[in-house]
Structures are given as C-alpha cells and as structure tokens.
Symmetry: C2
Subunit: 614 residues, 2 copies
C-alpha cells in the first residue's frame, strides 16, 4: 500500500541509462536555477527602501538607484567569474569543489557548509514569504499559515522526487509567467509616465528628510539588497544536470540569468523611483507599482498572483542545488554516502527529502515567521562566493595557462568584492542573526571531518590483503557447530527454526529465558509431552531481559563452545503480511539479533514463519 502511494506520487522507477533524458536544456534550466534570484526582485528593492526611507525621505530613490547599481555591478562580476569556473570545472564546479581543489579541504568544507545552510534557509524563507503573500490576499487563511507553507514544501519535494525534467517543466512555467508579467509592467509603467504623461500619485506619503546619507546607511541598504545574488552558485554547481553540451548550456543559462535579473531588478527599482513607492506593511512595493500602473484591472491581480508563486518557486533553486552539492560532498566521504545514491527517479532523493524535512522543521519551529532568518543566509552565500573566487584566482596563478592574467584579474577582483560584501553583511547583520552562521558553519565542518575520519577508519579495517586467504574446504561432517535455538512458546514457528538448525548441526541446545514462572512451567510441560531428544536450558531473568541471560550463557563455562568458536543462534521470526501487523508483536527477535551481532564470533540465523491473512 505504501509503495503504491509512493508510485502514485513520484512515478515509476527509471533505469540508470535513462539518466541522459532526465537532464534539462537551456529553456527549462533557466527558470529552475534562476527562480531564487528572480524572486528576490519581489523584495530586494523593498528591503533597500525600508532602510533608506525613514532617514532620507524623498532622497532615498537616488541612493536606492546607486545601491541597485552596485548590486548589478556585483552581479556582473560574479557572473563573469562563474563563467570562468564553468570553463575550468566541466564536471560541476560549485564553491565546494573549487575551494577544496585550490585552497584545501577546510576552505572547501567551509564553502560547502555555508552553502548548505543557505539552501536550507532559502526553502524555509521563500515558501513562508510566498504563503504570507497569499494570506495578505486571502486573510481568512491566516490560522493555516504553517500548514499551507508545509504543503508547499511537500509539493515541491514531491515534484523534485519525480525527477529533474518533470519538476523543471511544472515549476518553470510559473517563473516564465512571472517574468512576462513583470516585463509588461516595466514597459507599460515607463510608457505610461514618459509617453502618456501620467503623473504618479503615491499611495503612501513619503516621510520627511531627516538626515543626509552616511556610508553606514548606504552599506546597510546595499547589503539588504544582496540577497538577489544567492541563486548563481546553483548554475555552476549544476553543470551535470544539463543536456550535452552541458558546459555551453550552463554558461548560456548563467548569462541569461544575469540578464533577466538585471532587467527586472533594474526595471522594478526604476519604477519604484518613478512612482514613488513607499514600503508599507500593508502593501508591498511591487503591489503599489502594479496598482498605479494597471489600476484595479486583471493585470494587477496577475502581478500579485505570480509574485506569490515565484516566491514559492524560489525554493526550487535550492532543491536543484543542495542535493547535487551534498552528492559531491558525500562522494568525497564528508557526508553520509546515502546522499550520493540516486533514487528511483534518478534524482538524489535522500538530499531532496532531507532538504524538505529540515526546512519543514524550521517552518514549524518558527511558526512560519521566518522573515528574520533572511539575514542569516546572505552571509553564508557570500562566504562561499569569496572562497570560490579566491580558489579560482589561485588556480590561474598556479597553472599560468593561456590568458591567465586576465582570468586571474577577474577572479581576484571578484574575490575582493565578494569578500568585502561578506564583511559588510557580517557586520551589519551580525546581531540580527548572522552570528548563527558563524556558530553553525564550524560545527558542520567539524561533523563533516568526523564523518570522513569514520569512513577512512572503516575502510582501513575492512581492507583485505590478498595474503589473507579464506578457509579451506572442510569436511562438513567433522565440523563441531554450536547452535542455540531460543524458545518462548512451543509453536510452528519455533519448529521451523528447530528443523533448520537440525540441517546444519547435531549439537543443538534449546534455550529458554524465564520471566514468568507460570509460563515457563507450561512450556516445560508441553516440551516434555512433545518429547524431542534435544537438551533444553532454562535461565531465570529477574530483570525481565531476554538478551542478558542468553549472552551470559554463551560466554559461560557451562557452555562448551570456546571463545574462538563461532556460535550460531537460530531465531524464529514471525512475519505478518498485514502492514500494521508488526506493531502488534514484540520485536524480540529483531532486538536480540541487533544486540547479539555486537559480539564477536557469532552468526544469527533468522528463519521466517509467515502468517497469511486476508
């Protein structure tokens, strides 16, 4: 039943060699990898104005324009840098790989950890913001805020489990719709003022000018808008997800992404200046612009609806990025290796599911009030940008390949600028939450190192030299095999286990742990009646543990097996076919097996007895 439901939700399994057809082309790759960046226009401009308006009043628009310019410049620089990364790392070159390859393991892990935090927060923040947008339109849904957000995360998780290609089409369409709607708004908005001569009537009053611009204020405004850049990493990390020629396709998507963000972010910022939008808790800046441009027409509502959808879609970039990043880290042994395993539909399903679960947990913990998680993730993203650029810079210096000076210059400047941005973000946002990144990142790096140590140690202990030969073929009839068959009740399941034991040994002991005198007396009476010529050992267990007396017996003098002999324990296990049946049976066999296996020189045989029910 569970597997049927699973198939219904995520579709039938795909063969490994169908992987090729599960990749995306430029047209569908763009919306998936850019939705995070594009969605930020829905709030990045507004965030800048929130900082400026209370101090600068009408002057704000001038400096908003400058901030936007700085961010666009940063965007172009980062794009150019990442183009070079894609050239250098055709197998996928996220910050993790580039930093690890060029700067060493620790910087690589730092980049990986900060990106992981960033991606998880992206999902929690963007789905919460999307839900908030929907609720501000339909206030009656307010009590179900958390449930709605979780539903969105669930849908996106399922969509991604269904496979890259399918999710790209389903989740990509709304992104394109948003782009088209916003572009229409930009063009018509400019046309209305510049050509039709419309005089904007601001919906909210602009507060008076309190003071002039300061460097600190400008930096705070700039850093508030920097969230616009978070999605870029996903492209160069995701090269393996592109159709051939994957490198070329990835570069094309990167360029288009920069172009789209540039046009939309620039356009909306310009419109905000033109129409004097003033941030207000009751109406977003984009909504104010749309209302002035389109009035109460259907286009206004279309802007509102697509904005809500794009906010939710933004989390899809994280779903495209994080599982792949975790797979890279896991292949290197720094994360549980299950993250490197492809699921039924060839996506890295463990990464997808983990991302869905952890972000859902965050939403529940913060009851959907995740807007104050926002400062957290920009810092992490810029730390990883810096490490990636610095890594590339070092690479050019080392390789000195053709055109290395120009390339080194681009990445070097990129490193400096993104580092400066990371510092600005770290300082301006430290108290409002960025400190968490500085606590979590080292912790995650430490865990990753511990995981790597564990895997190395396991590999070392498992390594088999050719000199260590298997046992020679033995005369089976001369083997002394020690077999113990525990008994609780004399029934068919036990009999099946006993019969199996008989086929492998003629040195069997039946073992009974007595926790209830009456039950033991009944068993012994029946055993007597049954009259089989095999010794039975009964041990009392005052603390009602079954395992303790069994282990003690195996280790005791009383039992003839030496410490080097392998003891075989044959367990009868009831198998019930009803899916809810297992919770009705003490999983004693399971527990005994789990604990016995921690002893050396033991082999546990499980003999199933199946109960059929209709």
């Amino acid at each position: 039943m569970v597997s049927k439901l699973g198939r219904l939700l995520i579709g039938k399994s795909l063969k490994t060699n169908e992987l090729k057809s599960e990749k995306f082309n430029v047209f569908w790759g763009l919306p998936v990898l850019s939705s995070d960046a594009i969605s930020s226009v829905a709030y990045a401009g507004e965030e800048i104005l929130w900082v400026l308006i209370p101090v600068l009043g009408i002057m704000s628009y001038k400096y908003m324009f400058y901030s936007a310019l700085c961010i666009v410049f940063l965007m172009i620089l980062v794009t150019l840098s990442y183009r070079q990364t894609i050239d250098a790392y055709p197998q996928g070159g996220g910050s993790y790989i580039v930093a690890k390859d060029n700067l060493g393991t620790i910087p690589g892990l730092v980049a990986g950890a900060s990106l992981t935090i960033g991606y998880i927060l992206t999902v929690a923040v963007s789905t919460s913001a999307g839900t908030a947008a929907i609720i501000s339109a339909i206030p009656v849904l307010l009590p179900y805020r958390v449930a709605i957000t979780l539903l969105f995360i669930f849908i996106i998780t399922i969509g991604n489990l269904r496979g890259i290609r399918e999710s790209a089409k389903v989740f990509g369409t709304p992104t394109y719709l948003f782009m088209v709607v916003i572009l229409i708004m930009i063009f018509f908005g400019i046309f209305k003022v510049k050509v039709l001569g419309y005089v904007p009537k601001p919906i909210y009053k602009i507060p008076p000018v309190v003071s002039d611009i300061t460097v600190v204020l400008f930096l705070r405004a700039f850093s508030s808008g920097c969230t616009a850049l978070t999605g870029i990493e996903a492209v160069s990390n995701g090269i393996p997800n592109f159709k051939e020629p994957s490198q070329k396709n990835a570069k094309r998507v990167l360029e288009l992404l920069a172009l789209v963000v540039l046009v939309i972010f620039g356009g909306v910022s310009y419109l905000a200046t033109l129409y004097h939008a003033v941030p207000n808790p009751n109406m977003t800046v984009v909504a104010q612009i749309a209302h002035q441009v389109f009035g109460g027409t259907v286009m206004f509502y279309l802007v509102q609806a697509t904005t809500a959808i794009i906010l939710i879609m933004a989390s899809n970039t994280a779903f495209a990025g994080l599982p792949l990043l975790l797979a890279f880290i896991a292949k290197d042994g720094f994360a549980p290796r299950q993250f490197a395993k492809r699921g039924k539909r060839l996506g890295y399903s463990n990464g997808i599911i983990s991302l869905g679960l952890v972000s859902s947990l965050l939403v529940i913990m913060f009851q959907g009030d995740t807007h104050y998680l926002m400062p957290l993730y920009a810092v992490g993203v810029f730390i990883s940008f810096t490490l990636s650029q610095a890594g590339m810079f070092k690479r050019w210096i080392r390789l000195k390949s053709k055109g290395w000076i120009r390339r080194a210059a681009i990445n070097g400047i990129g490193a400096l600028v993104t580092f400066a941005t990371a510092v600005i973000l770290g300082i301006t946002k430290f108290l409002s939450g960025a400190w968490v990144v500085f606590v979590l990142t080292p912790l995650i790096v430490y865990i990753m190192m511990a995981i790597k140590n564990h895997y190395s140690e396991v590999a070392r202990q498992l390594k088999l030299p050719v000199s260590e030969r298997p046992k020679e073929k033995v005369d089976l009839s001369k083997q002394k095999r020690y077999v113990i068959v525990p008994i609780d009740t004399l029934n068919k399941s036990f009999l099946k286990a006993l019969n199996y034991a008989r086929t492998i040994s003629d040195n069997i002991i039946i073992f009974h742990v007595s926790v209830d005198d009456e039950a033991t007396a009944r068993l012994l009476k029946r055993w007597h009646e049954y009259n089989v010529d095999i010794p039975i050992v009964v041990k009392k267990s005052p603390y009602r543990s079954i395992l303790g007396p069994l282990v003690k017996f195996i280790k005791s003098e009383e039992y003839a097996a030496g410490p080097k002999d392998t003891v075989t324990v044959v367990l009868a296990q009831l198998i019930v076919t009803k899916w809810w049946g297992n919770i009705l049976h003490n999983q004693t066999a399971l527990f005994i097996r789990t604990m016995l296996l921690r002893m050396r020189n033991i082999a546990v045989v499980t003999v199933p007895y199946i109960i059929f029910e209709d």
Copy 2:
C-alpha cells in the same frame, strides 16, 4: 550513552519480585488517584457560573448551589457504586472489566475506548490549564506556552516511568499542599464573613438579571460541573497498584476521595456565593475569593501557585489509570500486547510513554489552546460510568448473592443517573465537540476488534499439534545445502561471511548485483586476483535495486534449488561501535534481510563484522 541517560532519568532496573514494594498505601494513593477530581474544583464551580451569570445575574449563586448539590449527590452515588465494584472485582475492576464481564465484549470495549479518550484528553487539558495559570501570573512566558506544557508532560512521564511509588511521593506532596491551602481558605473565608462580620466587596460587577432559570439552562450548568467526577474510575481500576490488603485500601481511598472533593467543591462553591465571585477572563473565581479572603498576603499567592500545580498534577491520575487499563485490554488481546509488559521500573512503560506522546501531540496540534477539548472528555467518562453500573446491576440480578437487592438498587440507580448525565452532556455539548467522541469511540472499538482477530489468527496458524514432529536427526554430510553469499566489495567483512558459509555448506554461490559497471569490473578483477574456487554470479540491475535480482535468481531455473529446498543467504553486516555510525552506512543488509524473510523456505544468516573506533 543513550542507556546512561535513560538510567539517569528513570533509575536502575528493578527485579520482578520487587513489584510488591512498588505499590502505594492509602496515604500516597489518595493524592495520585484524586488529583484529577480535586483539581476540578479549580474550574468546575467557575464553569457553572460562566453558564449562569450572563442570564441569571445575582440569582446564579442560588442555582449554582443546586447544581453543586446535584453533582455532590452524583458523586456519592458513583462512589457507593464503585465501592461495590471493588468488592466484586478484587483484581481491579474498571469499567472495561465490569462491562465486558457482565454485558459482553462490545460494551466492554466501548467503555475501554471512551475511557482511553478521556484519559488522554485529561493530560492534554490539565497540563495546558496549569500552564495557562502560570502564564497569567508571569505573562512574559506566553511565547513559550507550548514548550512549557510539553516540558510538564515530559516531567510527569519520566516521573511515572521511574515507578509508581516514587511518582506518588513526588507528585502527591503538591496535592496535599493544595488541599491544606484550600481548606484554610474555606475555613478562614467563612470565619471572616460569619464571625468577623466582613462585608465582601465583589471585584467584578454582577451583571443584571436577564431572565429566570429554565430547565435547559440548569442542565447546561450541571453538565459543565460534571468534570469533577472523572477521576473516580482510576481507583477501582487501580486496585492491583495498592499494597495489601489492596481491596480494603482501595475502598478507603475511594471514600476519602469523595470526602475531599465534597468538602473542597462544596466549600469553594459556598465561598463563591458568599463573596459574589464573578467569572472573568482576567482572574479566576478561586483567585477572586482568595484575594478577598487573604488580601495581597503570601497566602493569596500560595493559593495561586498550588492551583497551578494541582492542575498539572491532575494529569497524574491519567498516568496512574490509562497504562493499567491498557494492560488489562492488552492481556485480553484487544490492544498491542506490548502494553501488558512491565518496563524496567515495573510500570507499564509502553502505556506511560504512549500517553505522554499522544497528549504532547494534541498539545502541539492545538498549540496549547486545549480548553475546547474539555467538553469531549466528560461524555466519554460518563458513558463508561453507565456501562460499568449497568454491568454491576446485571451481575447482582444474575448472581442473587447475599444482599443483592440493595446492591442492585444502588448500581441500578447509579446506571440510570449516570446515563441521564451522559445524555445531558452529549446533547448540551454535542456541537461544541462531544460529537468527536461519537466518531472516535466506534473507530477505536473497530481497531480493537481487528487487533483481537489478528492475534487469534496468528495463534491459530502457530498452534503446533503433538502429531507434527520435528525432522529426524540427519546425516549432515549428505545434506544438500544451498548457500548464497552476496558480495558488494571484496573486504574482510565479506570474507568473514564467506568463511562462515564454508562451515555449513560446500555448495556456495557468490552473488553480485551490478548497479555500476565500473565498480563491478573492479570487483571482478579483484575476485580474479584473489583466486578462490567458488562460482560467482553477476546480475545487472537497471533500476539499482539489490533485492530484485537476488530474489529473481533464487526463484529462477538457473538456480538448482527446488521450490521446496531451503535457501540460506549469508549476509555480511558491518557493525559500527559509534552510536552515530549507523546512519553513515547504507543499511542494505538490513533491508535485504527484511524483504527476503517474506519468502518461504529461506534462512538468512547475519554475520557481523565489528569496526572498533575510539
């Protein structure tokens, strides 16, 4: 580490024969089993006034007195009835046992189900109410309401896991403290008005009289106060938890319980009349009385504090009652039999833990706003009262033992009155939530029946007739044993499994499922180098499943084992000693074993290979 933490929290294991010393006497049994009933004075009187005051104004106090009288009468009647039940069922006679024994299985299960619902709700409601009382004193804690409630449930769960006796002492003391404080308040309150001639100044204005009393209004008031009776069931259900003479002790506790509730409930109701307390969301009725009686002295705060504590302690009655009830039901096969198993400290730990978890879930689901769960549980409790009384009535009619007419009369009147109350509760509270009980109870009864059917079917299929003999001793050297050893990587763990296989058979096949061509090529090359004279079979798995190809191979013509031969699969299992190590390894062996066991004629041998780490 986990087991150390467990020992720290719940203490060391107790021996089965220490059970006797884990029981409670009258002095400690009273607070545990009465806290639920006693705590209801903190709100039962208030609930009555909430119904009456808006309509009757100053007239309310008169009818509150009548309502209280009716409830006290009901209380006495139920107490007398249960005294008889304790006499008749010395092994413990909750409604479940009495109804099942005298009325049949379905009435018994209905009683059991409705009590189960009642107990679970008691915990959720009373801990939430206690937290609310604390928060109204310290409003800064408001954002942590859910967390605080969960913490209380956790503490009470742990306390009960530590054992009956210990929890009785820890949780019983505050109950006695509350009793003493409230008794002082009652005596001094009456003394102050009647002797010192104090003229009460009501804190809130009594609203004007709107209309006269109606039957419906009176019944609504009466039913709102009926929650005072919910704890009585726990005493007669809990006879086995009392020290010898357990029957006599239980009866003594029942009588004392009735006395205490009578005095406190009657006293507080009288004080409410005397001091004209008016229910108000900002100050409870008890608080208003205490403030007038004691002024702002320390006694006022003591009343407040002990009231908050007793509300939380009320849930302890459920922790004393439900696990025992579930154990009775489980022994009859209508609930998972794990509920009938005693834990480390001899309590029915599975029931205790389940109660803690389910009530925590309710608190989380309702975000601590559980006051509207209150109407739900009174109905269920009175349904079970009715069934229990009716059962006793039928019993006397049937047995016709000494004094049966008097006894039948008491139980018969009890059945009628509690039935009438259940009907009143069901009707007046139907829309505000009691309907849930009418949906849930049949559902739970249905599940209980399904569980019983399952256990019966399992027992039937497992039953071993003496005629069905075990296999005779066989010549081991002539056995044809089919053994398959799956291989993933050629390492020491695999070698250990192979060596074990060699000791039980000379008919071994190594089986490899290929999900990655490169890895398979590497394995085959190494296997070749290793040069062991055992055949290896390689199967491709396009869908990356390990299990599918293995099962297919076992069933195929290619494999020589006939459908009646037992096939032995020897699995190498890695055991890591670090507690977090297991999440880092694909639990493939575990999964394969689980699925293979669903085939008939198979035996799965698990050979552990232990990795030691410091």
